[in-house]
């Protein structure tokens, strides 16, 4: 489990173009920071810091935290700003990529990651702003929920976070890319097979030619 999370995070890092501005969500997305050169990327956290880096235990400043309220460090060239200014950056389209977790992803490319039906809806944080505003969305998540049910479903049964499509999905089984109308399975993770993906996915998707030709079906 820990290992698959690291694998997903590492794969997400490969998606990033050098010199891009990236916001990392809570959970697996946070681990992406371990796989990127912080001279090549600039990390943003919505509570008001551009230029997030890791921090050693003995250098922790309790007043420097990320959106998950975890201690972080200040990169060279960093800047601080208010919440309103921070979300102006996000909403205004100035963040190149947001890497986020998801509870569900559906055939329309929509994400649900803020509320569970039947449970009280009492927290949304910056999820909706990031999904709306970031130029590109990468979803990192385990392929199935803790109860074994598919997370990639035909239509979200959990409340959606945005109508906006997430361009890239990276799970412990596979990588999917949005192709204008639907997702395409473009890569298998680790030693997973197309059968593994099919058995655990109820969302519609196509399979890219390369995988079909490699006879991975």
């Amino acid at each position: 489990m820990g290992n698959s999370r690291e694998l997903i995070a590492k794969r997400a890092a490969d998606e990033l173009e050098p010199h891009s501005f990236v916001n990392l969500g809570i959970g697996i997305p946070t681990l992406v920071a371990n796989y990127i050169d912080d001279k090549l990327y600039t990390l943003h956290t919505e509570n008001g810091l551009l230029g997030v880096t890791s921090v050693e235990e003995d250098a922790i400043d309790p007043l420097i935290v990320n959106a998950g309220k975890l201690p972080v460090g200040e990169a060279l060239g960093a800047s601080y700003f208010s919440s309103a200014d921070s979300f102006a950056m996000i909403r205004g389209g100035h963040i190149d990529v947001a890497i986020l977790g998801a509870l569900q992803i559906d055939s329309k490319g929509r994400i649900a990651n803020w509320a569970i039906p039947g449970k009280d809806i009492i927290g949304v944080g910056g999820a909706m702003d990031l999904l709306e505003g970031a130029k590109k969305i990468i979803i990192t998540t385990n392929h199935v929920a803790n109860d074994g049910r598919p997370k990639l479903v035909d239509e979200c049964t959990f409340p959606i976070t945005s109508e906006r499509v997430a361009e890239t999905i990276i799970t412990d089984l596979a990588v999917f890319k949005w192709q204008g109308e639907h997702y395409e399975l473009v890569e298998l993770m680790g030693d997973s097979t197309i059968e593994d993906v099919q058995a655990n996915t109820t969302a519609f998707y196509t399979i890219c030619n390369e995988l079909l030709q490699e006879g991975k079906v």
């Binding site: 007043l63 935290v65 700003f81 009492i122 944080g125 709306e132 959606i160 945005s162």
Partner: protein
């Protein structure tokens, strides 16, 4: 001479009355006016509406006011971290208004800037859009969010000069400068009060016309939790 607006916390808190709307700065406990909140738990007020990203933690910060039954309503973006909030909400003891964090911070800025409302794409098509007006602008759908204002804002800054000019410290800034603009009476808790002229005019984040009272911190957030420095 210029006014020296330093007050004791209890003097400043005389401006907080029952049934008012209160803005409270901070992201969790970071940048939260911990000392003012602590004093507020001892004031006899009730029916408060708080506008704050969170309602503190269970039994900490604003969470104490909740347990004391002083809160009527909370407007914020993330109440999940205080388990009491769901409990009080389900028991009908607390009203909630949940806003995306960017919409919340922008609505506070709008309140301070004389903007009646604004159009955002955030939350369009979601459950949080229910009951809100939409509008097409240049072919895209936006949601109307009205401004938020308060009777009193209690905020946390790093340094103040004696006029009330403020600078903030790192990610302890968060909602504080916006809330400083959006309330009729603004109380800023600060770690340090310096002479007028010591803060550089190009660096001041909150000009003193926004601030009505400055009070000295008695509590501070450390690696090992909240500590008394009074």
């Amino acid at each position: 001479m210029h006014l020296d607006i330093q007050l004791s916390i209890d003097e400043a808190l005389k401006h907080v009355k029952s049934d008012q709307t209160l803005m409270v700065g901070g992201f969790g406990l970071v940048g939260s006016p911990l000392s003012i909140i602590e004093h507020l738990t001892k004031h006899d007020v009730s029916g408060l509406t708080v506008i704050s990203n969170n309602v503190g933690e269970a039994g900490e910060g604003l969470g104490i006011l909740l347990r004391q039954g002083k809160l009527k309503k909370a407007i914020g973006s993330y109440f999940t971290s205080n388990r009491d909030v769901a409990k009080y909400y389900n028991e009908g003891k607390l009203e909630l208004e949940l806003l995306p964090q960017g919409t919340l911070s922008e609505a506070i800025r709008a309140g301070g800037a004389g903007i009646g409302g604004f159009y955002t794409k955030t939350a369009v098509g979601t459950n949080l859009a229910k009951g809100k007006e939409t509008k097409e602008i240049n072919g895209e759908t936006y949601l109307l969010q009205e401004a938020l204002k308060a009777d009193v804002a209690i905020i946390k800054a790093w340094k103040a000069d004696r006029l009330g000019n403020l600078v903030y410290y790192k990610t302890a800034r968060n909602f504080n400068p916006n809330m400083a603009t959006a309330a009729a009476y603004v109380i800023a808790e600060v770690d340090e009060i310096v002479d007028v002229g010591e803060l550089s005019p190009d660096e001041i984040a909150t000009p003193h016309l926004y601030v009505d009272a400055i009070v000295k911190s008695e509590l501070t957030l450390t690696k090992d939790g909240v500590k008394n420095i009074g």
